[in-house]
Amino acid sequence: MTFVLNEDEQMLRDSARGFLSEASPVSALRKLRDDKDPVGFSSELWGRMAEMGWTGVLVDEAHGGVEMGYSAAGVILEEIGRTLTASPYLSTAVMGAAALNLAGTDAQKQAWLPKIAAGETVFAFALDERARHNPERIDARAVKDGNGFKLNGAKRYVVNAMGADVLVVAARTEDDKINLFLVDPEADGVERTPRRTVDSHVPADIKFADVRLTGDALMNGAEDSEAAYRHLLDAGRAGQAAELFGTALQAFDVTLEYIKGREQFGVSIATFQGLQHRAAHLYGELELCQSLVRRALTTLDTQPSQAPLWCAAAKAKATQVARLAAAEGIQMHGGVGMTDEYDIGLYYKRAQAAGEYLGDDAFGAGEVARLSGY
């Protein structure tokens, strides 16, 4: 099925919603923020996610996973987005597994897929080098060095880097092709600078100075390493879009709840046609967003060759809708929407950060035009 969840996915959604609303409500993010948590997410929660079996959705059974596919991963990410849960789920269970499945050697799969399925490791992706996502502008270089490589470069906005066991780094090899490398964040020459961002996450900027890598650091299990790299980005976009859709939905629900209860000049503001029309319009935008997100995820599962267009479109739409839903949420809340006491502002902040990651709506529109041949 393309859009409707199958029974397993429905059960997964219900359990995910139940678990996260209890184990990591929005207050959990507030605590990480106020404690200035150095990593930005809870390892304890990560462990419990593994116990729920979520970390293995993209890992095949041979490597200890349940292999439910991107559609199921999206179900979990949507609930993560609803609760603003900070976790390495996207970077590890989705992008980590995807990278290994797409470009990993058998040895690398052996080494890491079981750990991912078991929630025993955290992956972080060192991809972008510019202020805005740009998958072609990669200057990081890995030059042959004996049997291994020497890595140099500077990366931006590496999500979950401060809590990562493995860095997956995009760098150009001598043939100028972009390849992915598995790098130990503790290795000599790796310098991580944490950046506390507006959404209370802690991505890092990372400098790689003459970092020595052994030969097996190169992920060369794919026929075409750049195709694998791009497909990885598609998977990341679809996953991030699913999370953004959850964020948008919850921002909308919270706001509807609020205006239904709010009175002004003695009448419920929910009766004002001006607000009603905007809310109805927003509902339509959310429906459009949901369709694109589902389509992108199931396309990754069933027609990967079609994924680029749908993933770019889904990420662009999810970015635009999540930001709109949260912005309208603040406006409809009025003054209290501006206070840190209410959650709606946190949704607005997260929509901005998650929207930027792997390309915002402008980037996505450009991709859609390019992929459509105009």
Binding site: A270, T271, Y283, A313
Partner: protein, 392 residues
Amino acid sequence: MSLDAFRKETRAWLEANCPESMRKPIRSEADICWGGKNWTFASDDQKVWLERMAEKGWTVPTWPTEYGGGGLSKDEAFVLKEEMKAIGARSPLDSFGIWMLGPALLKYGTHDQKAEHLPPIARGEIRWCQGYSEPGAGSDLVSLRTKGELEDDHYIVNGQKVWTSYADKSDWIFALVRTEADAPKYNGISFLLIDMDQPGVSTKPIKLISGKSPFCETFFDDAKALTKNRLGEAGQGWEIAKYLLSHERAGIVSEAAFGGLNPVTAAHQSGEVEEDGRLSDPILRGDVARLTIDGLAFDATMRRVKEEADHGEGVGARASMLKYIGTELNKRRNELNMSALGYDGLLWEGENEHDGDPARSWLRSRANSIEGGTSEIQLNIVAKRVLDLPSA
């Protein structure tokens, strides 16, 4: 009979009975068969194709056989549709009788009414039009002024209807008429079937900003409507109309959403692209890209809603959401078509038959968000029925 068996049989029958020329894509309005007393067939094949299909009841596959239908199950009808599509067979008959009156008759009609009116619809012998709106009433059917006074076995109808599509070509009209003068607004309206072949009924075409249109004004001047041709109870008209409006909505959306010119093709036609296919104007390109995204999203949403329906999840008031999005999107698409065509798009009349088509389509699209319930009304419905927001 199993579905597969039915499919085989159907395929064979279509292969044997669908004339070659009826397997060619529709080129223009003229290729569509509307039927009716005054219908002149575009070709013998069109006539033959209608007769053969009508004989099997496949002009209205799911209607009961006793009323001229095919008596097919939902699944069988779907198979028939697929098989027709497979050979590119045209629809043998289109009409408001099939799309709108039929469903209403099946739901609200008596046996006698069904027996009298459904078969002629199925055979394309009688063409129907719809008479709801009135001047100054718009979507507000409550303030209808066309009234019918009961006189022994019939109503005397006086008043005026507007936006009655193809009224000038139709044989009968199904109309909302205020028959219960003293009943509260919503309960005073009845649903009457009126023979237009009488002196008391006349029509006048309406010219639109997009040019000629199928719309007419229809005037009732002491027109007669037999009480036995009142559908449902006296005063039940509003309920029946609401039931039908949802059908109409679906129609407009699919029309709005699919097919037709798009800005990229338009830019290629007007030469506003670079060697590599990129749109020449980088800012227009951005606008088109965002349209493409919403187009993909809407297309996916239509499929999703259908898939959900197949899984028993009703569309309900979300039809209003689809109508709103689809029509607004179609307006945007037409606006960007015009921008991509530039000066070419402004052409209104020229040597060639199709000169000015883009401009006409662009202007016609403005009506999408008005007909079948305005966008504002759709938003009201979504706010109240889907989002459960309180009324003022």
